[in-house]
């Protein structure tokens, strides 16, 4: 089993090195795509085998070697494969495999094809470290590793020009990459503080040791640790107010958005909360958990409201990701960790599918993102249409689909907990989710063929790519059917969350309410956007001028606010400091240089060529030395 752990962990790493070391500078090499996809596939197979093993025999815990050993601090390179991490491993490796295969098609015409695979595989490796580590230090390394890979991949097309904020809110890939990286840095500081607090008070970073020691710590301390760790999770999972980077991260290639900014990396924050469930389920940190749940519900609604008016196809999907992350945090905050994990997995499948479908559309439309320019594309892109339809059904939470089970469970949890406000928000958001996701589908695939006027000639993706996406579609439909099995499997490790009798009693009504809302949302969207000819959708200029539309379209002016009150003052301050730096530090350095020059100029007068003059100088030097010796002799 130990070998399987290493295979699952290092196969992506080998792939990354293979692509990065041997082919970084060579032109597109198809071999790289094939080899890397195969290696990730191998990791997936290893993860499956491990999952079966874990289900039967329990967790696998290996220690590869000691890593940091200084004084009392001892952090081994240990890997823990238990029910939680193996679930994450399965999700990560499966989605990665499909995204890798997808990328061989999607990145086909890109100059930096090999580089892309080096980064993508490195990301998978970092993510595996993140989920498999048996201590907080390893988790943090993975955490930073995925951050770096995310930065590299968002900024993959770094050569693109900057555009003004009004025209493109994410300005340029390199700008978006930096934004994501810097915002995550802010959050990571919180996480580091949490880790330091844990080490300081527990003396170890191993999960098992820490969680055993937690109940003995003071309440205030536990709250601080919980808050600090959650700040880290907020950054990585793009929770308000650190959420703006996620939508801007859509500047990266679409497979990256699907893998990193939808299915895996952004869920790392949720994973952290789930992983640290012994901490968050303590009574002392109940308020923090409630805050997490409330923030999750708020973000779910907030992001969904922004998605209602978004025109950028990837931005819509990104906002729905944000919204679904809110759902996960709501569940985790309410103590239903296994439901959060279940929704995480289900979401990973259908959201990756949705993103890849959106990628197909983009590919067909020559990277055009505006859904206002699309329409009626189902004729030319049947495969993508079906996939995106399935994914949207799953996202909307219609029966039978994966999203139905997981989202319904979260809504039930909120009801069961008695947090009716959260419940209400989540139910309304479910309706909105259905509306905006189908708004996007209808805009893209139904209605007038607006693209024709603009001179696009869309064609569907390669066949093999569409076939490779099939597993995601199957899982997006069927993953929910295994909810009971998953429940049984995961609650060996995570605390169970039992619905009360009353909730059971009302469950059918709650479920129906959600379904009714979702179906209503879909019908409205169909009415509004899917019509043809005389019924076709027309822009409502008047509505677009209204305050609410403006507010939502501008993302509640949060990016503007950041720009005005953080970025610009910081820029001004930086410029001032730069000037101070130039005057003081540079001045000092220049002074040293000038002094050398001056002393050279002055002492050049000594170089007369006259030996006796030299002798005299030597005499003066000797005298000075003797005086120095005399002074030391007399003083010392």
């Amino acid at each position: 089993m130990e070998n399987l752990v290493y295979i699952a962990l290092f196969a992506p790493f080998v792939g990354s090195l293979f692509a990065g070391l041997f082919f970084a500078r060579s032109p597109k090499t198809h071999l790289v795509g094939v080899v890397n996809s195969t290696l990730i596939g191998i990791a997936f197979i290893a993860a499956v085998t491990l999952a079966l093993h874990v289900a039967e025999h329990g967790a696998v815990h290996v220690t590869m070697m000691s890593w940091i050993s200084a004084g009392d601090l001892s952090i081994p390179f240990g890997f823990l494969v238990d029910e939680v991490s193996v679930t994450m491993m399965l999700v990560v490796t499966l989605v990665s495999t499909i995204v890798h295969i997808y990328s061989t098609g999607y990145m086909d015409h890109d100059r930096a094809y090999n580089r892309f695979f080096a980064y993508l595989s490195a990301f998978v490796f970092s993510m595996m470290i993140l989920v498999m580590s048996d201590n907080f230090a390893g988790l943090f390394i993975g955490w930073e590793g995925v951050g770096v890979c995310s930065w590299l991949l968002i900024g993959f097309w770094y050569h693109k020009e900057d555009r003004p904020f009004e025209e493109n809110p994410s300005i340029s890939p390199s700008w978006a990459a930096n934004e994501a990286f810097i915002m995550n840095r802010v959050a990571d500081l919180g996480m580091l503080v949490g880790i330091f607090l844990i080490y300081w008070n527990v003396g170890s970073l191993q999960y098992d040791v820490v969680f055993k020691a937690l109940p003995h710590l003071a309440d205030g301390l536990l709250v601080s640790i919980a808050i600090a760790l959650f700040i880290g999770a907020m950054g990585k999972s793009a929770q308000f107010p650190l959420h703006t980077w996620l939508t801007d991260a859509m500047e990266g290639p679409t497979p990256v958005s699907a893998l990193i900014h939808a299915a895996t990396m952004v869920t790392a924050g949720v994973f952290l909360v789930i992983r640290a469930n012994p901490l968050y389920s303590l009574d002392a940190v109940h308020e923090v958990s409630m805050f997490i749940a409330s923030l999750g519900a708020f973000v779910a609604f907030y992001a969904a409201s922004m998605a209602l008016s978004a025109r950028d196809i990837k931005r819509i999907v990104a906002l729905s990701t944000l919204s679904q992350l809110g759902y996960m945090f709501a569940a985790a905050g309410l103590g239903a960790y296994w439901i959060a994990l279940f929704h995480l997995a289900a979401h990973a499948f259908f959201k990756a599918l949705l993103f890849l479908g959106a990628g197909n559309v983009m590919h067909a439309m020559d990277d055009e993102l505006d859904i206002f320019k699309m329409g009626g594309m189902k004729k030319v892109m049947m495969g993508s249409y079906i996939y995106m339809g399935i994914a949207s059904f799953a996202l909307a939470g219609l029966p039978v689909m994966a999203g139905f089970y997981s989202k319904d469970a979260i809504i039930e949890t909120a009801f069961n907990d008695g947090s009716y406000i959260i419940w209400a928000i989540l139910v309304i958001t479910a309706g909105m989710t259905a509306f905006y996701s189908f708004r996007q589908v209808f805009f893209t695939f139904h209605g007038e063929e607006r693209y024709k006027a603009l001179g696009f000639h869309p064609h569907d993706m390669y066949k093999y790519v569409l076939v490779a996406m099939a597993p995601l579609a199957v899982l997006a439909i069927s993953f929910g059917w295994f909810m009971e099995n998953f429940h049984e499997f995961i609650t060996k490790n995570l605390p169970d969350y039992e619905m009360s009798h009353t909730t059971h009693h009302w469950a059918w009504l709650l479920g129906s309410l959600v379904i009714v809302l979702a179906v209503t949302g879909i019908i409205i969207a169909y009415k509004k956007y899917a019509g043809k000819g005389p019924n076709a959708w027309k822009r409502d200029e008047e509505f677009e001028q209204s305050f609410i539309y403006k507010l939502v379209e501008n993302q509640y002016y949060v990016p503007k606010f950041y720009d005005e009150f953080i970025v610009q003052p910081y820029t001004i301050a930086s410029k001032k400091f730069w000037e101070i730096d130039k005057a003081v530090v540079d001045g000092f350095v220049d002074l040293i240089g000038k002094m050398s020059y001056k002393s050279g100029d002055v002492s050049r007068g000594m170089q007369t060529g006259s030996l006796s003059a030299y002798l005299n100088w030597m005499g003066v030097g000797a005298l000075l030395l003797i005086v120095a010796a005399a002074i030391t002799a007399l003083i010392g």
């Binding site: 006259s610 030996l611 002798l615 005499g619």
Partner: protein, 101 residues
């Protein structure tokens, strides 16, 4: 009156200073050699005196080796002087100014 180490050392210092003045003042290379000999001898006196004061033979040993070094220096130095004299026809330092950069 007792003659202590201080007397010898001060004498050595004075002699060294005389040599030093010679080195600075004279322009004739041969004279410079003489001045150097004076300085070496001054140091020898200091060594011998300190060795005597501590009752240790190492001082004398050093003086001994200094004499050896001085002898070789004179041997080589005079050879060089002769060549210089053949070349420039003079031993004046001011004549030899090839060091000018």
């Amino acid at each position: 009156m007792e003659i202590g180490i201080g007397h010898y050392l001060i004498l050595s210092g004075i002699l060294f200073s005389i040599g030093f003045v010679g080195v600075l003042r004279r322009k004739n290379l041969l004279m410079l050699f003489f001045a150097t000999e004076i300085m070496l001898n001054a140091v020898n006196i200091a060594f011998a005196a300190i060795g005597n004061y501590y009752g240790d033979l190492s001082g004398q040993m050093f003086a001994f080796f200094i004499i050896a070094v001085a002898a070789s220096e004179v041997a080589v130095g005079l050879g060089l002087l002769i060549i210089l004299y053949k070349k420039y026809g003079s031993l004046d330092l001011d004549v030899i100014s090839t060091m000018k950069g």
